[in-house]
């Protein structure tokens, strides 16, 4: 297209002051008005508002614009918004460029209005140079797989799998441990309704296993992962259980085995056998043989006969899915030896308290001894302060723990147990305040500690002595003898480095998975088609976990219920007329997207498989003849942008 035909519209956004407080928006408009091809140049209060979008559309029609530039916030937020606008105006959406003068200019240079304005002008000029060299592009249309992979079989994964399956989509649920349910079955009783954690899981599982479009793999892990939104290819490795029959059939025989190994389900409070079935009702019903801990295989063979099969080998299944939901959950914070007295007899964590109560059928006993008073120490492993920059601490609040501790306290108090609450803030938000209220009413004693002077726990006879300075009584030093100290431990994200690497999804400063935008796209990751749900994203209780799982399922459904998905056209392309077949691109491409193809009338040259190309541009950099270029960001465009940005600015 020749220079005369270009008709560019440029819109510079105030962002209601976010930009115009530091950038003289009017001056930017003045400065670029005379740029060749610019027909319309305006400032707008909120470019993204419907009225401004309509203004752009009207201008395109009225002034026959064929290129549009909006200079506003980060393209991460609104590039898509304006591509849509331009499309509605009847233009090809890729004849548009989004200049970021907020994150890159106004917010970065709050100290110099003049400097910020100058930089904004350079950005907008570069944007104009881009669109001047832009060509219409078409999104790449790909068929989508009507199937979803859910990673993690806690309540988040179970809920998401069930939701998707109900819409008719195929679902593959992959759980790393041998049994479904995650952490929830370990909970004795949960707020707000007092159900047993195991029952919540049982209900979801029984609904799920009735469905014929759900495949459940337990004891399984993701081994390889490739592809893109709509078309992921996954390999799942299923480890052998070595046991072939349901628990009930060999229950009595298993009982004959000795208790050998600390039971992780009970956080080490009890021991378990090498053949393992964690709790009544666990799914699948088939136990596992823990071969790693098994010292005497022969006895097991003798005892179980055909029920055991040591020849079982890991199996690999290959799946094709359109979307992925990651629901890998959390681990309870494990206090360090000595932290708030951890390690002493009578000091347990909240997760352990749940197990103790479950094992005692609701009655609380420790080593057979009756418990009369319990002190809860809150915020253990949460809201930690950094003592140095490098130190890895949990600065966040774990959200569920005040509520959970309060609920369990009220159960204990019903049994006549006295409870003390050594807290920093009681965060029983929302209606959970009622639980706090109830515990106060029943006579729970509340003591506020300062994080710089944490309570100390010592042994005194067969009791524990908790020493704490109480802020609620103007710093009075209290000494409270109790039978049990419960450390109200927070959540930490479950460590899954291999999975993170395979999926290439990232974690935030708090080491939980990070969403693209907490308000606009709260369950999406930066990788299209991969969504996050439940406690792997942030500490959450069951109710909140279920909502986030359904929300992630909803997003996965928007991808997989469709037949076709549109992908960005920013892919490499070879001009066979220039290519001299150096093959450098083929060597460097990390995605094996480039092949040699016979072009009619030209012969063998490099060729890009657009479905595989990720648009990284590695090939462009090494091509000696510039035969390979990235659509939407050609060398020509980059050079023009650099040149435009470098031009002198006179304000």
């Amino acid at each position: 297209m020749s220079e005369e035909e270009l008709r560019i519209g440029v819109y510079v956004c105030h962002c209601g002051g976010n930009i115009s407080d530091y950038v003289d928006v009017k001056k930017v408009v003045e400065a670029i008005k005379g740029e060749p091809g610019v027909v319309v140049a305006k400032d707008v209060m909120f470019a993204c508002s419907d009225s401004s979008q309509n203004e752009i559309i009207n201008d395109v029609k009225e002034h026959n614009l064929n290129r549009v530039v909006v200079a506003s916030c980060s393209p991460k937020l609104h590039e898509l918004t304006f591509r849509e606008t331009v499309k509605r105006a009847g233009l090809n959406p890729y004849l548009y460029y989004h200049a970021n003068i907020r994150e890159h200019v106004s917010w970065a240079h709050t100290d110099t209005r003049e400097g910020a304005t100058e930089k904004a002008i350079r950005h907008v000029r570069a944007a104009i140079a881009y669109v001047r060299n832009a060509k219409p592009l078409e999104p790449i249309r790909q068929k989508t797989m009507h199937a979803v992979l859910v990673i993690g079989g806690g309540i988040a994964g179970l809920r998401a799998a069930l939701d998707l399956s109900r819409t008719g989509l195929n679902v593959y649920l992959v759980e790393r441990s041998p049994f479904l349910g995650g952490r929830t079955p370990q909970l004795y009783r949960v707020y707000p309704d007092g159900r047993r954690g195991a029952d919540i899981v049982k209900d979801l599982v029984s609904e799920l296993i009735r469905r014929d479009n759900v495949a459940i793999y337990t004891n399984a892990e993701i081994k390889s992962f490739s592809g893109y939104i709509g078309n992921f290819e996954v390999e799942v490795e299923i480890k052998p259980r070595y046991i072939k029959v349901p628990y009930d059939e060999i229950k009595e025989k298993i009982k004959e085995l000795p208790d050998e190994i600390p039971d992780e389900f009970n956080y080490g409070l009890t021991k378990r056998k090498v053949i393992y079935y964690p709790y009544e009702g666990a799914f699948p019903r088939i136990p596992v043989l823990d071969l790693d801990h098994c010292s005497d295989v022969e006895t097991i063979k003798e005892l179980l006969g055909d029920a055991v099969d040591l020849e079982q080998k890991p199996e690999t299944v290959k799946l094709k899915v359109g979307a992925v939901i990651v629901a890998t959950g959390f681990d309870p914070y494990e206090p360090k030896e000595g932290e708030f007295g951890y390690g002493r007899q009578g000091v347990v964590t909240l997760p352990q308290l749940h197990r103790l109560m479950d094992l005692g059928n609701g009655e609380l006993k420790l080593n057979g001894r009756e418990i009369r008073d319990v002190a809860f120490v809150y915020c253990v492993g949460s809201r930690q302060k950094k003592s140095s920059e490098e130190e890895e601490v949990n600065e966040y609040c774990s959200r569920y723990c005040c509520n959970a501790a309060m609920y369990i306290s009220s159960l204990l108090m019903e049994q006549g147990i006295r409870t003390y609450h050594i807290f920093r803030d009681i965060r029983t938000y929302g209606r959970h305040e009622r639980m706090y209220d109830e515990v106060s009413r029943k006579g729970g004693i509340f003591i506020k500690y300062n994080e710089d002077e944490p309570p100390e726990i010592e042994e005194e006879g067969d009791k524990l002595l908790l020493k704490v300075k109480d802020l609620l009584t103007a710093g009075e030093q209290l000494e409270i003898p109790v039978d049990l100290v419960v450390l109200v431990t927070g959540m930490v994200p479950r460590k899954t480095p291999e999975l993170d690497e395979l999926l290439r999804i990232s974690r935030g400063r708090d080491r939980f998975y990070v969403e693209v935008h907490p308000k606009l796209r709260p369950v999406e990751t930066a990788i299209g088609g991969i969504f996050i749900a439940g406690a792997c994203q942030a500490p959450r209780d069951i109710c909140e976990t279920l909502s986030s799982a359904s929300a992630a399922a909803s997003k996965a459904a928007t991808v997989t219920l469709r037949d076709v998905i549109e992908l960005e056209p920013f892919k490499a392309e070879v001009d066979p007329n220039i290519c001299d077949l150096s093959k450098k691109c083929i060597e460097i491409c990390p995605y094996e997207a480039i092949e040699i193809k016979n072009y009619e009338g030209i012969g063998e040259k490099a060729w890009v498989n657009k479905a595989k190309c990720m648009g990284c541009g590695a090939c462009v950099a090494v091509c000696p003849t510039e035969a390979i270029q990235l659509n939407g960001l050609t060398n020509e465009q980059i050079r023009a942008m650099i040149e435009a940005a470098g031009k002198e600015v006179i304000i």
Partner: protein, 452 residues
């Protein structure tokens, strides 16, 4: 205005009855939760109708300044979503409309009557130029600015409204006809002959996302809200801090002075049985800390003191945000405020129980007091169901049938709820529930229609 009073006003003449229209899903409430639900369903391929009772969609969010904990400006996030839902090919909007009646005929079959109130402006012609606004001689407090600024009897709801067209507020109109004469469209878009319309909808499933309303601070008499001009509430402050703020400055009401010693009183109307709301409102600690941070930016010399009971910074990145506020020098006092007194110059004396100092009664002077008011349910929607009972809890929030299985499902099968209609919550959680409710609708519809 209540729906009923629209009927009672005879001068509208006939009500126009429209033929039945069919949709997969009805979403009630065009706040961020309802918008998210509609968008997800639309993207899945369901046909959606979204009903909003105000003249623009957007709910509370578009009125806010910046939003905790990431401090992105509310308009920047809300407005494009509003535009997206407006232009979505699978979504129709019924704006300035209210659901009158819902009858469930069977699974996947709800019959709904929606009353569309007359705007007295022809939406097909109005360009939103605002000439009518300039011409109108009547000035009344503007809801958008929570009464801090005025609007005319004919007005465009706000700059980024969707749709951005005028509406005539008949309660204040004096029928002078100035707007009609000023309107540049041919013929004028102002149309006083418009009548209410009844839409008859047949829908497969319903999402309630009708949001919340603020606690009426006048009910806490010892704080003298509505009486002492310099006692304002948090929504006023959010408007004063917004990019689209009315005065472009933070000014206290009594004398237009820039305040330099501001107090926040938390839990006003929450955690308080004397006003029948024992619940914590879940967001007020955080919005107060947010506003305090913004005030520190806007008025660098001002002192901000927050009187709290517990600081509930529980969500993702909240605690870090709270610690940041402390580092900025915002003062936090654990104390219940007993009463406020006004001095002659409009300054205020705050009497509080200093909990960390043995519960002593102390006093402090401030020149502006912001009440961090709590959230209460919009109860009307429970009354529109004919022959079915929508369960609500003792405060009036919609109650899920089984929170620990499906937290967005209501007592009526096929009716789901999202966002603050289910209880106080912040924007991220509201958006998540919008998505969750969309998912449940899709699953429900697929099942009752036998797709699976």
């Amino acid at each position: 205005m209540s729906v009923k009073s629209w009927y009672e006003r005879k001068y509208y003449g006939e009500i126009e009855d429209l033929p039945e229209e069919e949709y997969d899903v009805l979403v009630i409430g065009g706040g961020i939760a309802g918008i998210q639900a509609a968008l997800d369903l639309g993207d899945m391929g369901f046909k959606v109708v979204l009903v909003e009772k105000e003249p623009s969609i957007g709910g509370f969010m578009y009125k806010l300044s910046k939003t905790f904990p990431t401090m992105d400006c509310a308009s920047c996030i809300a407005t494009p979503r509003m535009a997206q839902v407006f232009h979505h090919p699978m979504i129709d909007l019924l704006i300035y409309s209210e659901v009158e009646e819902i009858e469930k005929k069977g699974e996947g079959d709800f019959r709904v009557k929606v009353l569309e109130k007359p705007r007295f402006v022809d939406s097909s012609r109005c360009t939103g130029c605002g000439q009518c606004e300039l011409a109108c001689p009547v000035i009344v407090p503007h809801e958008y600015d929570w009464g801090l600024a005025g609007r005319k009897a004919v007005y465009i709801p706000f700059d980024t409204a969707v749709p951005r067209i005028a509406v005539v507020d008949l309660d204040h109109c004096i029928y002078c006809g100035q707007c009609e004469r000023a309107c540049p469209t041919e013929p004028p878009s102002i149309d006083f002959t418009q009548v209410p319309k009844i839409h008859h909808l047949k829908v497969g499933a319903i999402i309630i996302a009708t949001g919340f309303h603020l606690f009426d601070a006048r009910l806490k008499e010892n704080y003298h809200f509505g009486e002492y001009p310099n006692v304002i509430h948090a929504m006023h402050m959010d408007r004063l801090l917004a990019p689209t703020r009315p005065y472009h400055a933070i000014l206290r009401p009594s004398d237009g002075k820039e305040p330099n010693n501001i107090a926040y009183i938390l839990c006003v109307g929450s955690r308080d049985k004397t006003v029948n709301n024992p619940n914590c409102s879940q967001i007020c600690c955080m919005y107060s800390i947010k506003q305090a941070q913004l005030i520190m930016g806007a008025l660098p010399l001002a002192d901000v003191t927050i009187y709290y009971i517990d600081i509930r910074a529980f969500g993702k990145a909240f605690e870090e945000f709270y610690q940041q506020a402390k580092d900025m020098g915002i003062m936090l006092v654990k104390g219940r405020v007993a009463k406020i007194e006004q001095k002659e110059n409009g300054d205020l004396i705050v009497w509080y129980e200093d909990i960390e100092n043995g519960g002593k009664l102390c006093k402090a002077e401030h020149d502006l007091v912001v009440l961090s008011v709590g959230l209460l349910p919009n109860k009307e929607i429970a009354n529109v169901f004919k022959g079915q009972k929508l369960e609500v809890d003792d405060v009036g929030w919609i109650k899920p049938v089984d929170e620990n299985a499906n937290p967005v499902e209501t007592s009526i099968r096929g009716v789901f709820a999202a966002g603050t209609a289910l209880g106080p919550k912040d924007i991220p959680d509201s958006v998540i529930e919008g998505g969750a409710a969309a998912m449940q609708c899709a699953a429900y519809l697929s099942e009752v229609r036998g797709r699976h």
